[in-house]
Symmetry: C2
Subunit: 347 residues, 2 copies
């Protein structure tokens, strides 16, 4: 790492989204008198009769959850996207344009155990979540009106999650959303120019540099991207170019579960708290094209900055002008790399 960037305000390029992030390394010294988050009590029971995701409980809409043993998936009772949306598009002129958006929403309970989270689950149990994602990607993506399947997890109250029961979501839509579309455009441009995968080249270089890599296993690398925006933002990237999660072999699925657990254990150990984040997959659309340009990856956007209770606010300048971060990606990587892969609760 060029030492000038360790100390001085600078911008870095994100080749995946063709955008820049402002980095202000010196600013980490800033005192904080602002909002302090509540830490959610971490003494949940294994089963909570008031939780609408626990097995055998009745949901808001009157449906009863089965006595499920590992993963349980159902249609989101309050989905933002709906299957029966009538097609309609409107274009008064270039200023007023709208179109209905057909889609659907799914909820995936990761475990029947109300008191667990991914870092506390066994790798074999996490592997079942991965299998469920692959199934859903193929089934939803197979519908003719679904062109993109967004798999994600909001973890922690501070991330707008309303239920601590371990679960993720899928929002599948007719349109390709903004963020994966940006990544598609950038990857396609790189692919056409170099006949190589942008992320394969990137990971290869990161493995040589060893400045931002956290760890690797046989099939995946976990790292803080050079262009990270969130203080402890990371990515899990497959070493081999694959357009979509359904391209994974069994061994790769196991290896992903391994990386997913090891990374989230480090996160929990960082501030000895159940570490909040939004995380999910970016991969090829399900629009029937090959998408050789796509190299799928898993991103984590965690808000905490200094402690379990002080987060980074993406407000003001960030909303109006440009994403900005206070510590360098290299420093974050060094901190995460130094952490144990044994969960603090089990010590």
């Amino acid at each position: 790492m060029n030492s000038i960037f360790e100390e001085h305000p600078h911008k870095r390029y994100n080749p995946l989204t063709d955008s820049w992030v402002l980095v202000s390394p010196h600013r980490a010294k800033r005192p904080w008198q602002g909002q302090v988050e509540k830490v959610a009590g971490d003494d949940r029971p294994a089963y909570d009769e008031t939780c609408y995701l626990c097995p055998t409980n009745t949901r808001m809409n009157g449906e009863v959850n089965p006595d499920y043993q590992d993963v349980y998936i159902f249609n989101n009772d309050f989905a933002a996207l709906l299957e029966d949306t009538p097609p309609h598009s409107f274009e008064e002129d270039e200023l007023f344009k709208a179109a209905t958006e057909r889609g659907l929403g799914r909820v995936i309970c990761f475990s029947p155990r109300h008191d667990l989270t991914v870092p506390e689950m066994e790798e074999v149990a996490i592997r079942k979540v991965v299998d469920a994602w692959v199934d859903e990607y193929l089934t939803l993506g197979g519908k003719d009106f679904i062109n993109y399947v967004q798999i994600f997890e909001n973890k922690g109250f501070v991330m707008g999650c309303s239920n601590p029961h371990p679960h993720g979501q899928i929002w599948a839509s007719s349109s390709i959303p903004d963020e994966p579309m940006k990544k598609q455009i950038a990857q396609l441009k790189y692919w056409q120019k170099n006949q190589r995968s942008l992320l394969a080249d990137y990971v290869e270089k990161e493995l040589i540099k060893q400045e931002r890599v956290l760890f690797e296993n046989e099939h995946f690398v976990a790292l803080v991207p050079y262009w990270a925006v969130w203080p402890f933002e990371t990515m899990i990237v497959p070493k081999r170019k694959m357009a979509r999660i359904s391209d994974m072999t069994d061994a790769e699925k196991d290896a992903f579960a391994n990386a997913y657990k090891r990374l989230t254990v480090r996160y929990d150990n960082l501030f000895e708290t159940s570490f909040p984040y939004s995380a999910g997959v970016h991969q090829a659309p399900t629009d029937g094209e090959a998408h050789d340009e796509w190299h799928w990856h898993f991103v984590f956007y965690p808000p905490l900055l200094r402690s379990a209770t002080v987060k980074k606010f993406m407000v003001g300048y960030e909303m109006l002008a440009n994403p900005q971060r206070d510590i360098t990606a290299e420093k974050s990587a060094a901190v995460l790399r130094a952490l144990s892969e044994v969960h603090y609760k089990t010590k």
Copy 2:
């Protein structure tokens, strides 16, 4: 408004940033069991001896604030951008690109009174803030290494504001940040195609439709943009095309202060709370070009959704895929339009 969009999930186009927002009108019925914000006590003293923005107090760096009577401006003690940043740029290949970023940060105290906010200030006092912005825009923009001047305000703890004393910030940079750059590109395209201002055309049409307009005065229109992302997002737009705030006449500056106050009073009245937001100006860069395409405007991004304590979380799907909102812009406009312009505290 086409009634199909009142009820069904749809996407709307934002011609200013060339992006789309997903709108899920039916989703407003969703129950909320998630995070509830603390409401900051609203019984602040007119002077607080522990506040580093109050007159006569000593700041962190040892400097003493003067006994200022209206607006007071100083260099941010913890600026993200610095004047003495050495120039340096780095491009290993298309994947690793960075450059130092020179700039500076300013803090503007809007009033010596610790207990006021913009909606509680007199219009003549707000006018002084507007004058200060114009001065700063010209002075900072006049420096050869400053090409963009971002004027903004973070209001409320929920927006990462660490001090309730009424104040805003300015971050001035050598680069043109991402968000204004998007708006510049879109406005330039429209200008070259139509020889007209995108926003002048837009406002003219909104004044005829009267579906999203909140109010107008002689020189400004306050409205919920067709493509609003935040639940109660609004814009104040000058009726006449002006590239920058320094183009305003005296009468226009007064009219802006009037609109700024009236809109923020409505905001406070919405949930009878000091309404949090990030707000600020988007305008022409200070790069020495004419920028005829630019039509400056003032945007408000407020997070509250249902009450003083329940906000919209832009997480998960929004971070990974696409901005999404739960109520239509028309419904938000109807709610804001129905509110009084007399501040609830003075009733």
